[in-house]
Structures are given as structure tokens and as C-alpha cells.
């Protein structure tokens, strides 16, 4: 499934809300948690990370992975957490609204 631009941002924020992580891990996590349905391309991921960092929703720092490799780790900032909370509640409302329409008036 294609990912819509707006949805990638919120998926990244959600993935990073558990623990700081690097780009490769974020991509894998989204892929695995969506049961291979949502595939994030690098061409979208890294610019998105940059953008989120620039908007102050993420902070970045260089570190080492468990296997000792160099990687850049991203973590949510306070505005990032707030943004995630807002987006998730919007999403719930959206799903609920869609559900109401799609299921139609209850008999």
C-alpha cells in the first residue's frame, strides 16, 4: 500500500515514542508492525526525519547500535509528544466518523 505523506510523519512519531531509534530501525518497525502492509521507502523516510527534526518534533544524536555500528538516533521532543497525542486523537475521531458513516444508521 502506498503511504500518504501526512501519515508517514505520525507513524514515525509513534514508532519513536517507545524508544529512540535510527532510520533503518524505524522503517523496519513500521513494516513489521503493519504486517508488511506499509512499506516506507528511504526516499520518503529520511526527508521526513529531517523535516520533523527541523520542526522541533524530533532531536537527533549520533550513537552506536547493539552490534556496535554507527547510526544516527532520533528521539521525540516534548512538542513531538504533544503532536503525536493530538494526531492520534484526530485519527481516532476520523476512524470513528468513518465507521459511523460506513456502518450507516444502526437498525
Amino acid at each position: 500500500m502506498d503511504l500518504l505523506k501526512g501519515t508517514l510523519d505520525v507513524l514515525i512519531l509513534r514508532t519513536l515514542s517507545d524508544s529512540p531509534s535510527h532510520g533503518y530501525a524505524v522503517a523496519r518497525a513500521i513494516r513489521e508492525q503493519s504486517a508488511e502492509t506499509l512499506i516506507v521507502e528511504e526516499g520518503a523516510l529520511y526527508p521526513a526525519l529531517r523535516r520533523l527534526e527541523k520542526r522541533g518534533l524530533l532531536k537527533a544524536s549520533w550513537g552506536r547500535t547493539d552490534t556496535g555500528r554507527e547510526a544516527k538516533f532520533y528521539a521525540l521532543t516534548a512538542p513531538g509528544k504533544k503532536q503525536l497525542k493530538q494526531a492520534m486523537s484526530d485519527w481516532d475521531r476520523y476512524v470513528e466518523a468513518m465507521g459511523l458513516v460506513l456502518r450507516g444508521p444502526q437498525a
Binding site: K5, H22, Y24, E41, Y46, L57, Q86, D90
Partner: protein, 877 residues
């Protein structure tokens, strides 16, 4: 959703670590693959392959980092490029939408730019002469308001007594003769030779580009003949000599010295190639000999009305002074543009209006298409909005998409317009100065912005819906979808109404055309070949010589196999030329009435199948020296001799021929049927025919009418050979008589053709619009259909419901369109021929055509609603 997040931590990332990060990604991916058992080399290759375009991603990331100052040129270009790329991708995913939107725009812009170019050139753009708005044409006005050519003495009096003009000149009218043989090149050619007075070039404001214009001495009676020639004659006939010295051409039987060459493109009046000083042969001193046209240049700051007033005063004084010797009662002053455009103005404005309607329809169609698309994308846009895509960004993307469609459509439209214009000019009836029309800046400035505006406006409607509704739209789940509903119905109604307007107009024109084609012209054009010849006065100076060669030609042609009858006339019907003259009736004094005057020879009436009603036709008795005779038409006989026979009566002074043949009476020997000489739409006038042997002066450029049994193409070379055997210096041109009829109907055919194409375009645009709206309605109500069918509705009744709802909207549109047409056909009234402007056939046919197309356009998508599987529809929407 709030964009403020308080103080932002300074980003750690720098340009330098972009590549480092991306390389780390590759390393991590490869590591993972190695862990899964892939060889290290293979793993690195696979990781790189899975990764997109490394350098592109890297550049994109850098740009994001660099855009700390958000409006640098590079970020702006970057974001525009990415918007365009995004738009292209979206459009490529829905090619039907993209193509139909672009095609709609292209048709709207194309039709308008082509028509507007013609109208602009003919009605708006200055004529190609310096300060052309000061140029006027002058005519005499007769009792009863009709106009006629000018008698020379009157012109000289106007010139002497008026002060409204900077300069004025007389010239040939081309109503009194066609082309003339000009000898001197490789072969004899027939050209328009314009006789002009000395001030002609100064009045036009255009002087010879090579050589010089006539001086005063050269325009005096008896001066040595000199001529000025067109650039194309200088090039093609003279061989483009640098020095004109020694170059002569034979015109009107005399050797004339070429003294000047006009600039390329100057061929006024008409399509002239040679200018000749008319003063050479002196001027007829009669004030009732109407021989000339006149062109004048208004003095600075003098209006047409002022000049008109002054000449009216002078003209009235002349009438008082000369009484019976002058028949003009006033002067007509008309701007040269009006003179040239004449009757073409109304059709042109009509076609411009029709093109405007097409554009309006195209915009409406585009609006509904974009709206439909916006609705289909409402979910996508709503989700993206909710998930934080910036509002501005969304609008910008929709804007880019619309701009892309609008831009492509405009470019295609201008190309289409250029092609359309080429076709238009091909078919445009002559006389209107549009040869140089082109799709220029004026058109781009007129049509393109309008259409772009429409595209952008409607392209952005879905975005406004989103931004206005915000997340409320999501909460209701209908917000964005609801935006279009009402507007949509309005658009369909508007489309239908516009299409009805155009269809009704086209219907009325078709009905008129049909009526014109039914008119009995008074002769039978089928199977008649015409051959236009010119007897060069250089070779046949005496009228008697000219008559003899004509007689020989007539009898030689008549003897050819396949020729049933042949004769000739100085001016064929519907060829645009006619001589008029006042006539006297013996015993009743000056009748002061006009009749047309034609010179015939051979078996002209038999060849044309003009019926003899009374008396006899010309025969061997009617030769020079015998009693002068004349044949009149039925209208003449009825008007001049009501209640009695015209045969045997005598008339005289026709077309002022008394100054050539003396004041002698002509006996009426026969009455023939009326012929519509002025074209199928002009009723026949009073007409007289004389025999060429008795009036040879006017028979030097006759047209033969040759009735042929079988294929004219087989006879043409035989005729050419016979004529060449008699004299190979006589030029000859063939044409089917029906071509003259078609040429006479050309303006109407042209208007009909363009209007018909517009109506067809309108009909298909409306059908496409309806199809789109119904399709989207069906898609949107998929679930509802499913429920209805689950509850027991027959597929057919669901289908009927969909079609019914669509046709209700169409019905409103038809009603409005018919109402508008009732008002608008007033504009058409002057162009209709024996058809009422509220002709029920045209109105009903238009409505039926549209309802048919609308039913089809509704039925196609409605079929889909009937095929809905209730279970699937309810589960999935």
C-alpha cells in the same frame, strides 16, 4: 492543528552528516542480510539496490536542512519542482480525467482564439494603411436611399467645395468590369487594373517603394500612358528588375510605361495589380453617369459625421443647381472598415458570441469535472489534512495541479486555435480583410486568463472545503463530500442551457440554409460549364472585331460534341457584378427607375434554361444596324407595364449607354423568367437583356455558359484548343456554374459550418459533463443502491431512478436554455432566411438532440448502479 511548539531545540544535523547517515542505513541493512545468511558482497549489493536513488535522497535531505531561511530561491524552486512532480504523478494516475480536462480547455480556448483572431483582424485591428481610421469611402445617395457609384463632375465639385478632407481620390469600382488582359510577360494574364486619380496613393498614405507615383501631368487627358504595378507583378511578370527604365506592359490596348512598384501586400482596391491614371481618357461630363468609387482621408480631428454633414450640404446645393441633370440627392460617407466588412459584421459578432458560449460551456464542464475529482479525492485530502499536512501545502498542491491542467490546456488550445484559424481563412468568404489574421497576443490576453481563472477557481474548491471545515469535515464524515452537491446541479443545468442555446441557433441556421437551397434561382446550374474570356483591346481595338471573334468562338464551341447549347453574357448570375441604369419608357417621360442591364449572345437563354414567357428570343435578325431590341424579365414587365403586354413597347437610355449609342429607342421583343442574379437570397430585380451585336462595347470580357451532356472535363480541353486555334492571345478560365452558386452562398455556408461545429462541440461537452456527474453520483451512492436492491428493488427500477434524477436536472436546463434562446435568437433574426426565429422545428430538434444525448450520458453510468451486488456494496461502500 497547532503549529507552534514553543522554543525549538537547534537541530543537530548538518549537511555533512546526511551522507554519513544514509551510508549507516546501508551498512545496517547489509548487516541484517548477512545475519540472514547472505554473502557480504551480495548483501551490500542488495542493500544498495533496495535503497532508492542515493544522491537524490541526499540532495533532498540537504535542502530540508538548508531551508532554515524558508524563502531562498533554491528552496522555492525545489518545492515548486516537487509540487509539479507530485501533480504529474497524480494526473498520470487518472489519465481520463487529465485528458478530458485538457481537451475541454483546448476546445474552448481553440474555438475562441480562432474566431477572435478573425474578428480582431476584421473589426478591431487597424487596416494596414497609415492612420487608417481616417480613411472613408464616398458614394452617391439616390432618392429612396439607395447608393450608387459616383459621377465624375459631382466628385470634382465635392473636392473643390469641401474642407473636411486632407485628400480625396476617385478609383475604379470594379462593378463595371472584371479583370483586364495585360500583355507583356510570357503569356497574357488577366488582372485587376485599378483606375485611380492623382491623389490616390497620397490618400491611402502608401507610396511606391520603388520608382514613383503619377505626377500631375501624367494624369491629364492625352498624356503618355504610365502605370504603377504591385510588388508581385514586378516580381513575376517583369522579373524583379532593379531599374524600371524601359519596362512597359500593354494595358487597355496601349503600351504603358511602368514608373513605380507598390510595397508588397498593397493591392487596394480589391485585389489590384496595376494602377492606371483614369484621367488619361478624360471624364464623362454627365452627372448621371455613375462610374467611380472614391476614397478620402479625413482632415485631422474631423469625424465621419462632420464630413457627412458637409457633403450633404454640398450635395443638396448641387441638386438644386442642376435639377434634372443630376440624380444624386446626397452623399454617403462611410469608414473604410465598414465599407470592407459590410454585411460580414453581424455573422462575425454572432460567431464570436457562439465561441464565447462554447468557452463558457467548456469552463462549466471543467468546473464540474474538477469538482467531481475533488469530491473523489475528498477522503484522501481530509486524511492528509488531519494527519498534519500543512493547509498551505495542500492548497499549493491542488493549485499546482490545476495550473498544470490549465497551462497544458491553454497551450493545446492555442495550437488548436492556430489550426482552426487556418481552416477558417480557407473557407472564409472573400471581401473581408482577414487574410493576415493570426493567433496573436491579443488572443492570448483575452482567452487564456479567463480559462486559467476558471480552472484555478474550481480546482481549489475542494481545498477550501477542507480548510473551512477543518476536522469538522472528518467528524461529520460528509463535509468535504457535501461541498459539490448543490453547485454541481447548478453546473449541469448551466451546461444544458448553454448547449440548448447553441443547438437552437445552429438549428435555425440549418433550416435557413435548407430554405436557401430550395429557392428557385430562375435557371438550372447543373451541367453548365462557364468559361470566362477576355478579348484584349490591344488586339481587337474595334468593337466590330471583338464581336466577330466572339461570334466565331460561340459557333465553334456549339459545334463541339457533347455541347447542348452555348451562349455568353457579360455578367453571369451570382458572380457579384451587375450594371444598373435608369430607363425611359416611350411616351411616358423619364420614369427615374432603375433596371439591371445585361449583354448576351449565342443561345444564352437556352444554355441557362431561362424560360421564355412571351414573344421571342434574339435571333439572326438582331444585328448591328437593325432595329435595336431588348428582352425584359417578368418583374420588369409586371412593374413597368402592369395589366398589358410588354412586347412591342419601346424603352431607352439604359445604363447611360446613350452616350455611346445615341439616344435611340429599343423595342421589347420578349419576356423571360426572373433570375436571382444577386444570389439565392436576393429576390430578382427588374432586368433587361440586349444583344451583343447591337451593344458590342460591353461584351469584351464575357463569360460563356455551356450546357454539356456528360462529363465537362472531357469538353474543357476541346474548348481550350478551339479558342487557341482562333487566337492564342485570348486568356480563358473555366468554372462550373454551380461553383458560382456555391460562392454566392459561401458566407451562409461558412457561418453554418462554424456554428454547426460549435453546436456539436457544445452537445458533446454537455453529454460528457452529464456523464461525469451521473458517474460520480452512482459511485457515491453505491451503498444506497445496494440497500435498495437488498430490500427488493429491481435493478431496472434503480437504474430508472438514477436516469430520472439526472433528466430532471437536464429538464430544468432545457427549459432555461429554451427561454434564453427565445430572447437570444433576436440577434440571429437578420441572418435567417424564410424561417421564423421562433421556428418550432429548430427549437424542438435542439431539445430532442440534447435530451437524447443526456439520456445516453445518464444511461451508461446508470447501468453500473443496476449491476451493484447488494452484499458487496453494503460491506465495502
Amino acid at each position: 492543528m497547532s503549529e507552534s511548539h514553543g522554543r525549538r531545540p537547534a537541530p543537530v544535523s548538518t549537511d555533512e552528516d546526511v551522507d554519513r547517515e544514509l551510508r549507516a542505513h546501508l551498512a545496517l541493512h547489509a548487516e541484517r542480510l548477512i545475519a540472514e545468511g547472505v554473502s557480504p558482497a551480495e548483501a551490500r549489493r542488495k542493500a544498495r539496490e533496495a535503497f532508492g536513488n542515493f544522491s537524490a535522497i541526499s540532495t533532498q535531505c540537504r535542502h530540508i536542512s538548508a531551508s532554515n531561511s524558508p524563502w531562498t530561491l533554491s528552496t522555492m524552486i525545489d518545492s515548486i519542482v516537487s509540487d509539479v512532480r507530485f501533480a504529474l504523478r497524480t494526473l498520470r494516475r487518472s489519465p481520463v480525467f487529465a485528458i478530458s480536462a485538457i481537451a475541454t480547455l483546448a476546445i474552448g480556448i481553440g474555438a475562441n482564439s480562432a474566431i477572435y483572431s478573425v474578428v480582431h483582424t476584421a473589426l478591431i485591428r487597424p487596416l494596414p494603411y497609415p492612420e487608417a481610421d481616417r480613411l472613408v469611402s464616398l458614394w452617391e445617395r439616390n432618392e429612396g436611399g439607395s447608393e450608387s457609384a459616383i459621377a465624375a463632375p459631382n466628385f470634382f465639385d465635392w473636392q473643390a467645395e469641401s474642407s473636411s478632407f486632407a485628400s480625396m481620390a476617385m478609383m475604379s469600382t470594379f462593378f463595371f468590369g472584371g479583370r483586364t488582359s495585360v500583355l507583356g510577360g510570357e503569356q497574357p494574364v488577366r488582372l485587376y487594373v485599378a483606375g485611380v486619380t492623382e491623389d490616390f496613393f497620397r490618400t491611402m498614405g502608401v507610396m511606391p517603394s520603388r520608382g514613383r507615383a503619377f505626377d500631375t501631368a501624367e494624369t491629364q487627358e492625352g498624356a503618355a500612358p504610365t502605370i504603377v504595378v504591385s510588388e508581385r507583378i514586378w516580381r513575376n511578370l517583369l522579373g524583379a528588375p532593379e531599374d524600371l527604365t524601359g519596362h512597359t506592359l500593354r494595358v487597355y490596348g496601349v503600351e504603358a510605361t511602368v514608373i513605380g512598384v507598390m510595397p508588397s501586400g498593397f493591392n487596394f482596391p480589391g485585389d489590384s495589380d496595376v494602377w492606371w491614371p483614369i484621367g488619361l481618357s478624360g471624364f464623362n461630363t454627365s452627372r448621371t453617369s455613375h462610374n467611380w468609387a472614391a476614397i478620402a482621408r479625413l482632415a485631422p480631428d474631423v469625424s465621419v459625421a462632420t464630413a457627412q454633414q458637409e457633403l450633404d450640404t454640398i450635395g443638396a446645393a448641387l441638386k438644386v443647381a442642376h435639377g434634372e441633370e443630376i440624380d444624386a440627392v446626397g452623399v454617403v460617407v462611410r469608414s473604410l472598415r465598414d465599407e470592407l466588412v459590410g454585411g460580414a459584421r453581424t455573422p462575425m459578432i454572432l460567431l464570436l458570441a457562439a465561441a464565447g458560449l462554447v468557452l463558457l460551456l467548456a469552463c462549466t464542464n471543467l468546473a464540474s469535472t474538477l469538482l467531481a475529482r475533488g469530491t473523489a479525492r475528498a477522503d484522501e485530502i481530509a486524511v492528509r489534512g488531519a494527519l498534519g499536512a500543512a493547509r498551505g501545502r495542500l492548497i499549493r498542491q491542488l493549485f499546482t495541479e490545476s495550473l498544470l491542467i490549465g497551462g497544458t490546456g491553454a497551450v493545446c488550445g492555442l495550437i488548436l486555435g492556430h489550426l482552426g484559424l487556418t481552416a477558417l481563412l480557407q473557407f472564409a468568404p472573400g471581401g473581408v480583410p482577414v487574410e493576415t489574421a493570426s493567433v496573436g497576443g491579443g488572443v492570448v490576453g483575452f482567452v487564456a486568463p479567463l480559462t486559467l481563472l476558471a480552472t484555478l477557481l474550481f480546482g481549489l474548491v475542494p481545498a477550501f472545503g477542507i480548510t473551512r471545515g477543518g476536522t469538522d469535515a472528518l467528524r461529520s464524515g460528509r463535509g468535504a463530500i457535501g461541498v459539490g452537491g448543490q453547485l454541481w446541479n447548478v453546473l449541469v443545468v448551466a451546461e444544458v442551457a448553454l448547449a440548448i442555446l447553441l443547438l437552437t441557433g445552429a438549428g435555425l441556421m440549418i433550416r435557413s440554409f435548407w430554405q436557401v437551397m430550395q429557392v428557385h434561382t430562375g435557371y438550372e446550374a447543373e451541367n453548365v460549364l462557364t468559361a470566362e474570356v477576355a478579348i484584349p483591346s490591344a488586339l481587337y481595338a474595334e468593337d466590330g472585331d471583338a464581336a466577330r471573334i466572339l461570334e466565331a468562338m460561340a459557333s465553334d464551341i456549339a459545334a463541339l460534341p457533347g455541347v447542348e447549347a452555348t451562349g455568353f453574357v457579360n455578367h453571369l448570375p451570382m458572380a457579384g457584378l451587375s450594371i444598373n441604369g435608369a430607363f425611359n419608357v416611350e411616351g411616358s417621360g423619364l420614369s427615374n427607375a432603375y433596371a439591371s442591364y445585361r449583354v448576351t449572345g449565342g443561345n444564352y437563354f437556352e444554355a441557362m434554361r431561362i424560360p421564355l414567357l412571351e414573344g421571342r428570343l434574339f435571333d439572326a435578325r438582331d444585328i448591328q444596324g437593325a432595329e435595336p431590341v431588348v428582352i425584359v424579365n417578368a418583374s420588369f414587365a409586371a412593374a413597368v407595364f402592369p395589366g398589358e403586354s410588354a412586347v412591342g413597347k419601346r424603352i431607352g437610355n439604359l445604363a447611360n449607354d446613350n452616350w455611346i449609342y445615341g439616344d435611340e429607342w429599343m423595342r421589347i421583343i420578349g419576356v423571360v423568367g426572373d433570375v436571382r442574379h444577386g444570389g439565392p437570397e436576393r429576390p430578382a430585380h427588374r432586368e433587361t437583356y440586349v444583344h451583343y451585336l447591337q451593344r458590342p462595347y460591353r461584351a469584351r470580357g464575357p463569360s460563356f455558359a455551356i450546357r454539356i451532356a456528360g462529363d465537362p472535363a472531357a469538353v474543357t480541353p476541346l474548348i481550350r484548343e478551339r479558342v487557341a486555334r482562333l487566337d492564342d492571345q485570348i486568356p480563358i478560365e473555366f468554372k462550373a456554374l454551380e461553383e458560382h452558386v456555391q460562392a454566392a452562398a459561401a458566407p451562409r455556408t461558412f457561418t453554418l459550418l462554424v456554428l454547426g461545429v460549435f453546436a456539436a462541440v457544445a452537445l458533446s461537452l454537455a453529454a460528457v459533463g452529464i456523464y461525469g456527474v451521473v458517474s460520480y453520483a452512482v459511485a457515491r451512492r453505491h451503498r444506497e443502491m445496494g440497500i435498495r436492491m437488498a430490500l427488493g428493488a429491481a435493478p431496472r427500477s434503480v437504474q430508472r431512478m438514477v436516469i430520472g434524477e439526472s433528466l430532471r436536472r437536464v429538464g430544468i436546463g432545457v427549459a432555461l436554455g429554451v427561454g434564453a434562446a427565445v430572447a437570444a435568437t433576436r440577434l440571429l433574426d437578420s441572418m435567417l432566411f424564410e424561417v421564423d426565429r421562433l421556428d418550432p422545428v429548430a427549437f424542438v430538434a435542439g431539445a430532442v438532440a440534447l435530451l437524447g444525448a443526456a439520456t445516453l450520458a445518464s444511461w451508461l453510468p446508470a447501468r453500473r448502479s443496476a449491476r451493484v451486488d447488494p452484499a458487496v456494496a453494503i460491506r465495502n461502500d
